[in-house]
Subunit: 427 residues, 2 copies
Amino acid sequence: MDMRESTSGAPASAALRVNGARLWDSLMQLARIGATEKGGVCRLALTELDRQARDLFVAWAKEIGCAVRIDAIGNIFARRAGTRDDLPPVTTGSHIDTQPTGGKFDGNYGVLAGLEVLRTLAEAGVMTPAPLEVAVWTNEEGSRFVPVMMGSGVFAGAFTLDHVLAQRDREGVSVRDALEAIGYAGPSAAPHPVGAYFEAHIEQGPVLEAHDTTIGVVQGALGQRWYDVSVHGMEAHAGPTPMELRRDALLVAAELIMTVNRIARDHAPHGRGTVGWVDVHPNSRNVIPGRVTLTVDLRAPDDTALTAMDSTLRAACAAAGAKAGMRIDVEQVVYFAPQPFDPALVEAVRAGAAALGLSAMDVISGAGHDAVYLARVAPAAMIFVPCKDGISHNEIEDARPEHLEAGCNVLLHAMLNAAQAMGSTTR
Amino acid sequence: MDMRESTSGAPASAALRVNGARLWDSLMQLARIGATEKGGVCRLALTELDRQARDLFVAWAKEIGCAVRIDAIGNIFARRAGTRDDLPPVTTGSHIDTQPTGGKFDGNYGVLAGLEVLRTLAEAGVMTPAPLEVAVWTNEEGSRFVPVMMGSGVFAGAFTLDHVLAQRDREGVSVRDALEAIGYAGPSAAPHPVGAYFEAHIEQGPVLEAHDTTIGVVQGALGQRWYDVSVHGMEAHAGPTPMELRRDALLVAAELIMTVNRIARDHAPHGRGTVGWVDVHPNSRNVIPGRVTLTVDLRAPDDTALTAMDSTLRAACAAAGAKAGMRIDVEQVVYFAPQPFDPALVEAVRAGAAALGLSAMDVISGAGHDAVYLARVAPAAMIFVPCKDGISHNEIEDARPEHLEAGCNVLLHAMLNAAQAMGSTTR
């Protein structure tokens, strides 16, 4: 089988497979930049370490003949020409910035899986009708600069370039200056059209592992509503104050914590409800809490469900406040709309897994990813692979080489099929 | 009416009343030492301000002919001789150290009410069979040095002198050095016998005000058990982790907070249950809490109830842990035994209030007071008066002059009756 003769894609390339060992080696090589003692990675966006990682990616992309372009927010696009180079590219990618105590796979896997796809095609001499592209999106994590998913957000028009360039880190350094300092401030230009966008990512959750399944066919991303809730009771001494004369803000907060859990369970299987942060005032062992502030994070796959959850939360707070005679403030601080992925691309992921004989299941992304912004401007889909114990954003984040390889093979064939399909479409 | 002729107490002194204006003036004068801008007092134990306040009390006591003695832990005893000076004294008192943001009345009222009783008797020329004594107990608040109720604790044998002298504040200054620095390190000696001990105090709670009642006839002090409880779940991302795969430590903690409340209400009217302090880890808006530590404070008037509450708490933690598949650690960190007061002295307080035509009700002390330690070595009782909104340990702590005067009159007659009764007893 000499696939170097093939120039039209699908038929001759069906037997193509990525090189799993090369993918793993690249992941481990990239992970040395910012490696932590505990086996994780600390590589905050737009730092010197980020520059080193970007330079390594750019060098690797150029080695296989890619054209590399940087945009004004520092997103990197490594482009492999198509036989019909006028077509918009089939793009994949993710990010290589990490959390302060991040792992080796979050984001990095999506970028290097894309690179491995291009390396595999280069090695096999397979040309696609549409060009292929690997994107490295700037500052997905948001650990140093907010907003999170900054690069993909600018690309998709969620934020203006000027707004994000003016953001500063805790030391007062702006995004603009940090980009220039590392040499990744490209020229300003309108975002280029993207024909299709795929993103491979570790699941960052426990579902695939719990189902002993290799490929998560991601249907979309949950919508999110985040709130700050404050319960205003009355601080008093724990000893001299009888139970019936108390106005214990923590007791009411405890009810709300249980209510948030119930709201999510009433919207099974995809509803989520989390109280992750609690502040008790004065937080003293023998003082009845006078004020408790807590965060609420509600997520659902569609806006009907999310709106219903919002209404239930507000009604529960109002009822709890009325019953306890306390003021309860509910302020929504974040809203992300639910984002379904493109049905045809989702089907391409599912078909790819099936053709490869991999176990697969439909899943939903509970977290935000660059693909969620890309879905606003292009057909998009994601491929999840398991991560150990569902743990991410942690130095002990881990994934199995065979799962990473499997996900990369799904990505390869999904991209090939999309590039082929675009070539068959009259434009 | 010339009471100066009376030397035997009760009959001729039944019409005696304290000087409420003088009591109030002395309270306001003492409150200037360490006065805060918000109208409170900051006069930590064994500081220069404490010395000034002690000196003022000693000067006032000497003005009315009291003998003043200091013991090795700095307790001050101002003694007014009796006609049978071999009898143990009828003692009253409290403390004049305050919280960092303390008020004018907590402790100070008990000391100056005792002084006002002696002033009234001196002015009226009334002699009692047993001597009368006003004690100023060192470091009741425990804000600078622990343990709390240090002076009365040493007097009652709860702590050894050497142990407390070696305690240090945050700057490393020992109790021993601080006592010497302010000139209140007296000679070491065995505690003298106390015939009866009364302590007047603001309630520091809302019960008297809620019942529009002037005098609280204190039956005793609640026993206390304090715990540290840790719930060990599993930290995970709020987005990607479905509800059924979570091990949310905060959700279990919320159940325990409600359980603590229920346990106290099941032991009405005097049972108390408080979670005052909560620590959530990692306390991040979109991370399911992996570990929650909380304090539990249980109080009850008798050990049978307190033991039952302890058992229920432990069983509830065990059940919650088993249900959630989480380890829950329960560690008891403090135990104070319930302390009933002396029935005859309690009756003397009640009778005093009735004779004076004051509204009165039986109450229980939810907090610790010097009287609780004194009750271990002498018959003891307390007199509570209302404080505004039940607020104490706060610069806005407030009390009405007529309530303070009324409580002082009850103290006067309770002490007179006790001193009379002791004089009638063959020893």
